[in-house]
Symmetry: C2
Subunit: 634 residues, 2 copies
């Protein structure tokens, strides 16, 4: 699959954009007119730079408001088009995007459009230019891709084809199956964009909220499947208008973009395979569907979803506070590593590593290079996977930045990469009994999960920098095979917190990505690790006996709980006495408590009853408010 991206997706100057696209590995780019008009580079400079960078210049865009106009306006539009065709010759470009008219269209006649597009095609032919005509979702008379294609067919000129843009098609809920019947010669270009399903006017939706494939909710693999089946083999190019991407680091965004196409390519191949099940080749054997189409779809190393958390690592220059809290939570100290300055603590199968290093190079949710936080912060997560090598290879192909982990001889080598928020993700060899071989590298006493309570890491909650929230969703989807769940918004005293759960189907891994309010990104920012136990009340009593500092829940909360659920008085009194929070839904019940915060980390203990699948979202505002109050007074 030939990959492309429109320069409008990225921040910076045209030069910076082109360089970032080359570094990210794109085959070609679309040049957005404004990026050229505002650039000090001449068209010849751009042509040479693209050649030097190994980028093809696939599409000049957009040419607006051409068709459905009066005769005098047509003359002006043809003049304008000719100027652009000449410019394209200097750029060495041969394809231009012409959008259906939204502004100056005054005549609703397909005959007239055929006539006018025919004139444009003839002019384009004179200049060796191919015109890709696209139906904008909000086009005045032409807003349906089949309508645009019908016009192209009617004109029947070799220099006129259509451009298919997934946003314009899927935002209108047009059926994509008819694409398969299109003459591939007439599909001049394909643009892909994803988007969250929003209920708003389609123009605003398109201009501000598009995201890269895998970061939204459109059925893009299916769209691409139809395109591939039609026989199209040209570039598949991203055209994403997004307020955040426009502000973000250009190289980071270009990599995020490239990852989305690599992922889409794989998903499209899978869709084709699934759709062609039962189809047989000429020799009578079953043939993978994608093999029979002109577009080649590359594959990635395949991974299943992770089987669980292997460990969570907290970094701290001063480890005293962490050690105290873990001890009070009932964790056992399993010793120090043979060669590294790290400690291992465990409770059942839940393992926490304390890395005795300041988290300066670790997780940094801030946009700017802020001063290193010496206080404890979550630095790394380990996941149990079937094959760490395959999973690492997949992540690498998805352009996840590898992180080195120094190892001595006879020590397990972790395959690792950095998540968008710079949390380090390590891929560990899962075992059927939930143990981890690497724990033998720790000194005094191996972990002995059978001896302690049956605890596991239930979920980890990471704060995301605002520029990298969407990127993180695609990252965990593509590199770690987690599935995004419907997101929630939680009120906090400093703003709404957007909360996106990524999870495996069996919920063995639950990872919560929180988009903190902008004002909170660098100050009151907190993350946590939650452990699941069988009997939270007993656990809480034990923790209290060991002197744990619980997050203090206001009495008002318990009154409200009683008003909402009508709990048995004894049970309610127990909850209140132990600072436990409670939630209930149709699937089951949820009990949980939080510890006080150490640095920017706190811990949660949870008990899931029945099939409860949530996180106590109704209680999150209480947690935020109490933590905020503590921060104000510490």
């Amino acid at each position: 699959m030939r990959t492309g991206i429109a320069t409008v997706c990225l921040s910076g100057t045209l030069k910076e954009k082109m360089q970032a696209c080359a570094i990210a590995g794109f085959d070609g780019i679309e040049i957005f007119e404004q990026d050229l008009v505002t650039s000090p580079l001449t068209p010849e400079d751009v042509r040479k730079m693209a050649a030097d960078l190994g980028l093809t210049l696939d599409l000049y865009q957009p040419f607006r408001d051409f068709d459905s106009v009066s005769e005098d306006l047509l003359v002006a539009n043809l003049r304008r088009a000719e100027a652009k065709f000449k410019l394209m010759a200097r750029l060495g470009m041969d394809t231009v995007l012409v959008c259906s008219n939204v502004a100056t269209a005054s005549i609703d006649s397909d005959d007239l459009r055929v006539e006018q597009l025919g004139q444009l095609a003839a002019l384009a032919g004179d200049h060796g230019v191919k015109v890709a005509y696209e139906a904008l979702a909000w086009g005045k008379y032409v807003n349906d891709y089949e309508h645009a294609h019908k016009l192209v067919e009617a004109v029947d000129h070799p220099n006129l084809g259509t451009c298919l843009d997934s946003f314009h098609i899927l935002s209108r809920n047009w059926d994509t199956a008819p694409i398969e019947a299109f003459n591939p010669e007439k599909i001049f270009f394909v643009q892909v964009a994803d988007a969250p399903k929003l209920s708003m006017d389609v123009l605003s939706w398109s201009r501000h909220y598009r995201v890269f494939p895998g970061e939204g909710q459109f059925e893009l693999a299916k769209f691409m499947g139809h395109v591939v089946r039609a026989g199209y083999s040209g570039p598949v190019s991203l055209e994403i208008f997004n307020d955040v991407f426009r502000q973000s680091d250009v190289e980071r965004t270009a990599v995020d973009a490239m990852r989305s196409l690599i992922w889409l390519e794989e998903q499209s191949a899978k869709w084709l395979d699934a759709a062609s099940t039962g189809a047989t080749g000429a020799d009578g054997t079953q043939a993978p569907g994608r093999r029979r189409y002109p577009m080649e779809l590359a594959t990635l190393p395949q991974v299943a979803e992770p089987a669980g958390y292997n460990f969570a690592e907290v970094r701290a220059a001063d480890t005293q506070g962490l050690e105290t809290v873990l001890g009070q939570l009932g964790f056992e100290f399993n010793g120090r590593h043979r060669t590294k300055d790290v400690q291992l603590w465990s409770l059942g199968h839940a393992r926490v590593i304390i890395n005795e290093a300041a988290p300066a190079d670790g997780h940094d949710p801030s946009a700017d290079a802020s001063p290193a936080i010496a206080a404890p912060a979550i630095g790394a997560l380990g996941f149990d996977v079937a094959s760490p090598v395959i999973a690492a290879a997949r992540a690498q192909q998805l352009k996840a930045p590898a992180v080195p982990r120094k190892s001595q001889a006879n020590e397990e080598v972790f395959q690792g990469f950095a998540a968008p928020d710079s949390t380090e993700i390590f891929l560990c060899q899962g075992t059927s009994d939930g143990t981890a071989a690497w724990t033998s590298e720790f000194g005094e006493g191996l972990e002995n999960p059978a001896a302690g309570p049956a605890a596991v890491i239930d979920h980890v909650n990471l704060a995301q920098p605002w520029q990298h929230f969407d990127e993180a969703v695609l990252f965990y989807t593509s590199a770690l095979a987690l599935e995004p769940q419907p997101f929630a918004e939680v009120p906090s005293p400093t703003g709404l917190v957007r909360s996106q759960v990524m999870a495996t189907g069996d919920r063995a891994v639950r990872l919560v990505l929180n988009l903190a309010p902008l004002n909170q990104q660098r100050k009151t920012y907190q993350e946590h690790i939650a452990f699941a136990v069988d009997d939270l009340v007993a656990t809480a009593r034990d923790c209290r006996a060991r002197g744990l500092e619980f997050l203090q829940i206001p009495a008002n909360y318990y009154e409200d709980l009683d008003a909402r659920f009508g709990l048995a008085p004894d049970f309610l009194a127990t909850l209140q006495a132990l600072n436990l929070l409670y939630d209930r839904d149709a699937d089951g019940e949820f009990l949980h408590f939080y510890t006080a915060t150490v640095g920017s980390v706190f811990f949660e203990m949870v008990e899931r009853r029945g099939a409860y699948d949530g996180y106590g979202a109704p209680n999150a505002p209480v947690r935020h408010a109490v933590q905020y109050d503590h921060l104000q007074h510490r």
Copy 2:
């Protein structure tokens, strides 16, 4: 008018919110349930604190999903309601908001609703509670305020009335005139919220995009006029769900909120006056409409829109660069002030003051306390008004923070206040010939506008911190009588820039508020002052002869200009040779150029031909791109 605000409008803890409301001068508050539930304050604490702060506790809210339910759910809901009624007794509150059911409603029967609301009213009566029933715009069966009122009338119980919320009414475009016919005894509460007119689902619109009155596009004065005419005299309370306000400084936001009600009160009185024109009192004389209603509407000192800019002030520790640019632009140096470290420069009637002080205490568009910028920045603007004293009194009543300007004997005393972005606004005595008396305080030579070219300040472009953009719109509307124009969005290499023009009807004052992309707030942030001249080409030639450094416009721009407008070759060549930008629309033409940036300030020279009323918006991306490129390389 009794003023109120719901605690959900503000950031912080309940205690912080209450304190901020008291400081801002609110009469009372609505307590949003979550703010109490998450608070360590007992209900008795809250009651005492409110009394100490002089705040009434007007409404407990919200009670959700009561009506239209099955019998067993009704029992649970009544139980839940009774718990809240008991809580309200402890708080000393007597009114609760009950919203029409959105979630658990299963039976669409007005008879059933009358029956169930009747039971609720009876229970409320037992506890001395008044239930204000409100139709949510997205209520499942009840989403129209007239429907809610009809149910209230049918129940006919002294403890059941309705709550009118402007958002729920105006977002659905319901006619507000029928409110006048309501029995005022049955209107238990009135909530006001403004909003920009967005085309999106009403729930998302309501939860994220409400703004304070005067910051959106709803006809609130008319809504309030009908409420007043109905005979309602209770609290008028703000209920604003806004993602930005929730993150902003609580005291600042509370003042912004209070300003919006003061302004709304005045606008409502004006609407009533206008609506009652022609009505005569009992004695045969014309009576102002508002006098005849139970709700008293206070008035403010009245001001007309400013007649023009009196001056613009730039602050700089090092003034050399500014002096050079102003000189090259043709400005005359009119000397130093007798007693202050400021210089006066003028070109025609355009006056620029250079304040030889670092702009540390001046305009700071950043959210955080960032290091003081020693480089030049716009610090103050002077406006010609009919009566500076009256205008200052009005601004003060609108809670604009006064700024002191030290003066010696025999010097003109400027009335001044700080705008939301901390630019200082000074109110000057306008003169019919465009001169300013205070210029006599400057040493060497009075200004002599007749001698120079006929220049004026055309517009000033200020960057706004993201937390205070909406606040700024209301501020300039209410305190300075500027009118918000439709906003534009301009692409820049670091993101979209939202651009909001505030102007007088005659366009003598044009002030452009730019919401810079988040990443640009503290770094590449630039503002400018634009001067209008009669002959831009001649001015540009003179400036070039004086060695002015123009912002260099790329050649590609002129090619595109030619493609778009088909300009005469000579004219196009002149534009290009002088780095002039060009725009044209149905009203006229616009020529302009920019200087290089000094510190965070640059200047623009414009010529308006015909009735052109814009700012060359199609050229703004070029300006942003070239400035960005310079910043990258300096």
